[in-house]
Amino acid sequence: MTTPRVVVTGLGIAAPNGLGTEEYWAATRAGKTGISRITRFDPAQYPAKLAGEVPGFSAADHLPSRLLAQTDHMTRLALVATDWALEDAGVDPKALPEYSMGVVTASSSGGFEFGQGELQKLWSQGSQHVSAYQSFAWFYAVNSGQISIRNGMKGPSGVVVSDQAGGLDALAQARRQIRKGTALIVSGSIDASICPWGWVAQLAGGRLSTSEAADRAYLPFDEAAAGHVPGEGGAILILEDEQAALARGAEVYGEIAGYGATFDPAPGSGREPGLRKAIEVALADAGVDASDVDVVFADAAAVPELDRIEAEAINAVFGPQGVPVTAPKTMTGRLYSGAAPLDVATALLAIREGLIPATTHVEPDPGHDLDLVCGQPRTSDLRTALILARGHGGFNAALVVRAA
């Protein structure tokens, strides 16, 4: 028996440089940034003041008041992105058996903004003032749960929490569930925690850029790399069994062809970090050689040591300057668990158009010896793309997508 192929049939994007797939792709191919000074709260007293905020999102235009009362910003974005992804896939969930559809998303922090509001009520007004919805609105699994309830999806569902790597780990888990027999899984991730509570938590991690110039703040693989700018948003993807998708005449963006995940050895062990192995596992899983890969979407930490580790892993597999590498997330900031699903969506759009979007504002450090696509996007015949994501604490994930 052959393993069923799993394909992407719908995209729903909420990104700092564009709300909706069309707006996002138009901005991304043009190199338009979504990074600017924080507006969701006054950042004056914090050392980091820039973020990638999703523009022009009015939840009340899309969601009923019953949901507004019980959802964090990230959940509202995720619910609307899911609506768009299902529409894009031509799927009406109400017309399908409820146990044939599941939801597997990733999360890095949960609903921080909602949680902050309730904690403020707790300490300033007392426990009587805390919303009953705090019981789940902050929770990591809440996006999966709310998507499941809104769309009547009762098949295998869950959430993966492994920081930025989780965005790929969730897609891999979705693929597993489809291979085990579920026809459709809503996957990907939307993350958002641009509120004071989320901000101080991220500052404590020590990896935020403190630059106040939007075009100098997030410079992965640049000698001036000095941390990242956080962003909010991500992408929701509709994954289906290829046969089922073709049978209903769905348009297919591409196949989730391979996946690998590793964990770094203990700090100080002197052993090689796990990213190279994750790439090799993903390529082997997809049944492709390094020479088949047309573009790599980098994790792009913009922390010099982490950039070096990533460049070494890429060069170990592909050879120096051996494959075009890009980081369109330089236009959005790092979206935590939302980053890699957005990169996967971007890779599928890049394959469709034959265009590698650029890494913006970066002057590549020649020491990394990468063929980094900078300044201008690059036209190229693309069939196979590799997406990399690393999570704080040692998570590595790699995913291969292939043209349908």
Partner: protein, 92 residues
Amino acid sequence: MATEAFTLEDLKRILREGAGADENVDLDGDILDMEFEELGYESLALLETCGRIEREYAITLDDNVISDAKTPRALLDAVTAHLAGAAAPVAA
């Protein structure tokens, strides 16, 4: 605090503030004897609603009010009974 009446209008306002309103339900219709579930409110929405009533009216509802009051009329009766009972001690 003097004894206050707790009316259907008060309940509708608190429901909307705390839990929103289902777009397929007309709260301004004849809802007194409809079940909360039909109105689109699950147990957590009622927990939130009762919490807000308790705060606003400075009363403590019995735990079983949430499970027993299936309709707006039943909840209004339960709150009114508490307000009558609580009036003296709260005023003192």
